[in-house]
Subunit: 311 residues, 4 copies
């Protein structure tokens, strides 16, 4: 037997003024560790976006909107690169907050949190959000909810579409405009949920936990092929992956950006290979995980992929 | 100004046959890093369990039941140490699987996942679950669902209680017996959810996404004090913490066991101090995070705390 | 082909007053993730310590002495369970500090470091060390160095043995008493090194960087079998592993406790399997990595292993 | 008291063909987590490189040369941006291997390491290095060593300079050409060390462990200001930081790229703030840590900084 090597490692070269796509190509020539994985991720994402038969999922976890990554997701929707978005409730909450004109602020991670609380400042690592935002958020949300016909039953995605339709910027707005469904299985687990609880003290509208699964699974059955980008893990990752458990074939393309680690057993850090054993990915699926912080790796992934598509 | 030190570090001593509680006390004398934090966690958990006025939450994330940690949670319920459990859907799925007599198996993390798939074996890091389990799971779940009155609306916790009532071991069973509610905001995001989707192809029962929030928040308003143990982050952590946002005061005790890291911004790795800025913890709350693998730290926490309570 | 599973996962059971060894056995029955790995580590370490033909290495990295873990290493030497110790210079520096009667103190990780500096307090995560300790350290070290014959050439291990011989507690002292050599390839990279620099301003003693390799490799060639425990990675891990590159066979037993991760490519987080490709471990070597904080995992490993040996 | 916020978070925008510097500026506008830190790192590194009075250190740990990052270090030396390099022995070993015309190869992390060993392939995560390289390495190294005058005493940096002078590409070569000293305190802990052991079986040259400290500390005393970039932690980080312990002032600029975490207590994951308590950084020093994989963050840091300097 002869053992076959891959290409030789080339020492990466950087030069002033190089584009993001050029840098990622250098990471591919080096080809090691997460730098090499990021290059593979761009290769896979490029192929996935060029594949017109592929249904394109995007899973959004982690405090990405407070961290300034929501604009990239909104842009991907606007460009037609996301067919189905699955998000945590928190990202949607913060998307509303920005869309109604409130702001998150640059802060630090080492102030006294008890003092921040007294000042009315909520901390997300090194980002600050003043309490005022939630006052305006409440006003906006109660307005949206009050438009729901009393006694009706709605799905979570309908509720989110209703919110997005009243906004003119951000993820929810772009999704509503583009007709992209947003699924948020744990919608209760967010400030949107708490607002809904307040609304439901005096109103009777049932939000069906399971209703969205029909539309989602129908799309999965219809799709020729499917691909997914996962930012973080959590519910969005699992919900997207499990959606292909009922169909005969799994995802064909998958890119995962996560800071977790596999050896703890949790899904958020699990390799995409693990998903092959479940049939959530096909045996031949092109898939890669880039471990690291998505506030670096998501912009790089998207900038480099767009450069290839449009460059 | 005179700077005040804490106690001097004592080099930890181990001896053959020492109890877990004795070992944790040695970690406390050493007092450094996560070993010191584990000792603090036992101190806090002991005080929390001794506080009869405190409402006791438990958040369960990560693949803990496949990893053999479900028995400890069931035991804590049986002993009356959990008042409210918030879980991922996956842990409840695997709890059912074990309760109906199927098993997870010791495996390895380095086999070919494509081959595992062909063999009908699903992998969770180094744990294997054969497909047969899901056949029996389907049969059981459809049986439970078929008992739901057609046309009715139920909450998620009612659905879970109905499942637990038909089992005689495990978390769902112990919770049903003890009248401990299990909240699972993202129930759709699990094999239970997929089974429900199948059931709902031909049946009409609405599961209300938000219904459980009323009971949960009522308990929060009534409670004199509150404490929480978080195994992993995800939806359970956030859902528990946000439940105190509407009350005038936050949690008084909190212990978090997580393998994530704070600098990525996500809630799962966020410090408990961050929660103080939001008012989810009181400014004076006793709280500590132990970073590491919960398959080690949860058994140690519980064994050492029970030793103190009953020793 | 029939696929063979391992044992069924048993849900771990904890009870008040159980011993550390009993807890580790429960982790083995659960058998998942790092809990399962810790049980394997105890199995391997027990076999290694029972093997009288095996040369026993111990690699010590990370701030383990300030974190109160030095006493366990000293105890292992005293019990005859370490034949060769490889350490960072920092651990030996802090061992001297404790041995001459100074102390590290419990602190916190969130004070202002600039203020700590003004107060004369040095921080190691949540451990404090006052500057006074270094004044007494200097006096002690210069005393040791002044005993070196001017114009002579010594090896690093001789220098460390000379230090240990003047102490009556701790790692250096126990090693000197037991005749266990301590190798510290980067001795310059420590406060011991800075003290030596001061000494060498006015004295002429050459410390040979490579001299110790002869004794080390002779032991490796003579040994029937060999085993190693690695606490952290760094120079100690690599130096121990490379010592078997020249012999015909690699290590037969290896246990690694580390908080690093493999995907970054560095040796500290590398799996022990990787070492097999280099021949540093034999193909059949029993080896396991437990990812996590050694201030928890080292005491558990040692307490459970001693319980098996002496229980 | 009025609480002051920083700037509002701006959602990062990416566009096809943007430069690396433009992307980093977007990360700065987002300003969160490690993306925000990377932008700060570029700010600090730019100021440090523009400061002609600052002595510029570079610490190199982790398997960076096998991972294709050595070329960037060599380029920084060539451009005059490194005054003093501190490296692990492994990176220098692999630099020699590439410089004498051997190659590392793209591989995978999931082959059988026992089989790789039989095939004569050494693995570094997903990079392969065939044994043949070490045969040519041995020949080259023994040639270099044989030029050492028998009976002489040399410093480690002299030895490394002698190696670099015989090469015409890579880190050692560029450093020799530029007169940049390379310090490698743990030189024994590498294949260079093992080659030296072979040489010293029949030759008598003493390599002094401490000799280099004089030149290093003299430079520190002379320097008006000082700055450092740390890729990884380990000996290079500590050795650079401790070099300022003897002078009256600490480092003025510091950028750390690491994948480790602070809560384990080890220096490799320690914050740069911790170094302020020791006086290794001045109280006012500009310093930031970017957590993540250096195969992504180092090329970004350097490309963006050079774009600012030369753009």
């Amino acid at each position: 037997m002869t053992f076959e090597y891959g290409d030789a490692v080339q020492q990466a070269r950087v030069r002033p003024g190089m584009t993001v796509g050029e840098l990622v190509d250098e990471l591919g020539k080096a080809g090691a560790y997460n730098g090499g994985s990021l290059w593979q991720a761009v290769n896979i994402y490029e192929q996935m976006l060029r594949d017109e038969e592929a249904l394109k999922f995007f899973g959004l976890s982690g405090a990405m909107v407070p961290g300034g990554m929501g604009g990239i997701v909104a842009e991907l929707i606007r460009r037609g690169h996301i067919d189905i978005l699955v998000s945590t409730g928190a990202n949607l909450t913060h998307d509303v907050i920005e869309a109604i004109g409130c702001h998150h602020y640059h802060g630090t991670s080492d102030l006294s949190d008890a003092e921040l609380c007294e000042e009315g400042v909520n901390r997300i690592y090194d980002i600050f959000l003043p309490n005022e935002a939630f006052i305006r958020f409440e006003e906006f949300m109660q307005g949206v909810f009050s438009s729901l016909p009393n006694g009706s039953t709605v799905s979570i995605s309908e509720l989110l579409n209703r919110i997005g339709s009243r906004l003119d910027a951000g993820i929810l707005s772009e999704a509503a405009k583009a007709g992209v469904p947003i699924y948020c299985p744990a919608i209760q687990d967010s400030m949107i949920g708490l607002q809904y609880w307040m609304f439901s003290q005096t109103n009777r509208v049932v939000v069906s936990a399971f209703e969205d699964m029909h539309g989602l699974l129908d799309r999965c059955f219809e799709a020729e092929r499917a691909g997914a980008v996962f930012v973080g893990g959590g519910v969005p990752k699992n919900y997207i992956l499990q959606s292909k458990l009922m169909t005969e074939s799994g995802f064909d393309y998958a890119v995962q950006l996560t800071g977790d680690r596999p050896d703890l057993g949790g899904l958020s850090g699990a390799t995409l290979d693990e998903a092959r054993s479940w049939g959530k990915l096909t045996g031949e699926a092109r898939a890669v995980t880039v471990y690291g912080d998505a506030t670096i790796n998501l912009p790089m992934l998207v900038a480099a992929t767009l450069e290839r598509l449009e460059g």
